[in-house]
Symmetry: none
Subunit: 256 residues, 2 copies
DNA sequence: GTAATTCCGA
DNA sequence: TCGGAATTAC
């Protein structure tokens, strides 16, 4: 399997602070991963389809347990433009990486030891969400960072008119309102669009949202999927190849 | 003696984490320093020839003991483009620095207290090395940093074809292979050249190599000089004026 | 564990 | 050019 290193790095950066160790599933159709975060509250789902790779081959289905912190360190040894090959031996007790620089003068080989991990058997039902907010991922990061200095949780209120992020803490409170905008061609990159059946609002722990925001380098946009009485889902599409989705259950608090 | 501050700063940065205190020799022909690192394993050698200075005068030979950490702090008070004068009084119990800004509008004077230091009498024999690797110093830094996250030691294997740096640790292992290349004019800045009589390989403690890599800002290239059963020497040429050389004895381990 | 520094992104 | 984050030294 061959791919540019930078995207792989970003993927691992988007997961490693949430998940220490996880099983990764390799199958004919691609690579996938589902895992609860270390505190068993949030949930991540990664999908990389086979056709997104330059070449991809997996003769059989394999589940490999990796330490994401080690993997992150390993990937830091690749240049962003290096071509990456990932392969495993038949006994699959280690995962091998080769990085080749663009000019071919430098070839690195790294090996990651694998581990047996007790899988959190996770099943994610597809849902019909009441509201789907599609917004700039950098805007999302900015809002999460800004509200992170205000309080511990963010209330997300989605209405037809727009979406409001708000937080309150000891020193005060803050809110950011993004108005719904049909993607104006001029700056559609920043526009926020909201598809909504019914207004919905949820309070979410900022601690997790900050981690979700680490996926922003992977995608220009993030979509936030909300429904009453179920986890909120954040999706970052990874161009041409798949997505990262994060699920987080709302906090039960006074305002809902 | 007058010199641009930035180069002096870089020199001290390249030494201070390895050596706390050292004698510096001032003679008619220039400035030199030899010292073991604090753990008495690695060895540094600095040479600054008199003709590399804008002006240089040393009426007699002097050996002055300095604390490099204090010197580093002192030099941080100089602007990078300041012209530096270093001078001492006849009794030589302190070293005086003046920094003059490019526009001459600002002149700073600093004084460093000297100390008596028991010299490690160090003698470095000139050797005929079996292999000399000449490579980009930034590439060297990168490799040392990358392998630093893998293990505690690096094996350097020099052959006619190229040089391989490799390391192994708990989480896995890694290696970087640089292919030998006659300096193609196009990008000779990155090319690696290897002059070799006989293949040689040595295992070296990464802890020290990380310190050696701090000399990279002083020189675009580093040359690695290897011979069986003797310390490996790393040389960074300081343009027009001298060099820093580091010596490190190989670790005895199974692979050699 | 804290503090400083260096590097990257806005 | 400035601020923030990550890395590294004390």
């Amino acid at each position: 399997m061959i791919e540019a290193a930078s995207i792989l790095k970003k993927i691992v950066e988007a997961l490693k602070d949430l998940i220490n160790e996880t099983n990764i599933d390799f199958s004919e159709t691609g690579i996938s991963l589902q895992a609860m975060d270390s505190s068993h509250i949030a949930l991540c789902n990664l999908l990389l389809r086979d056709d997104g790779f330059k070449t991809y081959r997996s003769d059989r289905t394999m589940t490999l347990g990796v330490n994401l912190s080690s993997l992150s360190k390993l990937l830091k040894c690749a240049g962003n433009d290096d071509e990456v090959r990932i392969f495993t031996d038949d006994d699959a007790d280690q995962l091998n990486f080769s990085f080749e620089s663009a000019n071919k003068e430098r070839v690195s080989e790294f090996t990651l030891k694998l581990m047996d991990i007790d899988a959190d058997a996770v099943d994610i039902p597809e849902m019909d969400y009441q509201a789907v907010i599609d917004m700039s991922s950098s805007e999302f990061s900015r809002i999460i960072r800004d509200l992170g200095s205000v309080g511990e949780a963010v209330m997300i209120d989605a209405t037809k008119q727009g979406v409001k992020f708000s937080s309150a803490g000891d020193a005060g409170k803050g809110s950011i309102l993004l108005k719904h905008q049909k993607s104006v061609d001029g700056d559609s990159a920043l526009a926020t669009s909201i598809e909504i059946n019914e207004p919905v609002s949820h309070s979410l722990a900022l601690k997790f949202l900050s981690n979700f925001a680490k996926a922003a380098p992977l995608a220009d946009r993030v979509s936030i999927h909300m429904i009453e009485d179920a986890p909120v889902m954040f999706e970052f599409k990874i161009s041409e190849i798949g997505h990262i989705r994060y699920y987080l259950a709302p906090q039960i608090d006074d305002d809902e």
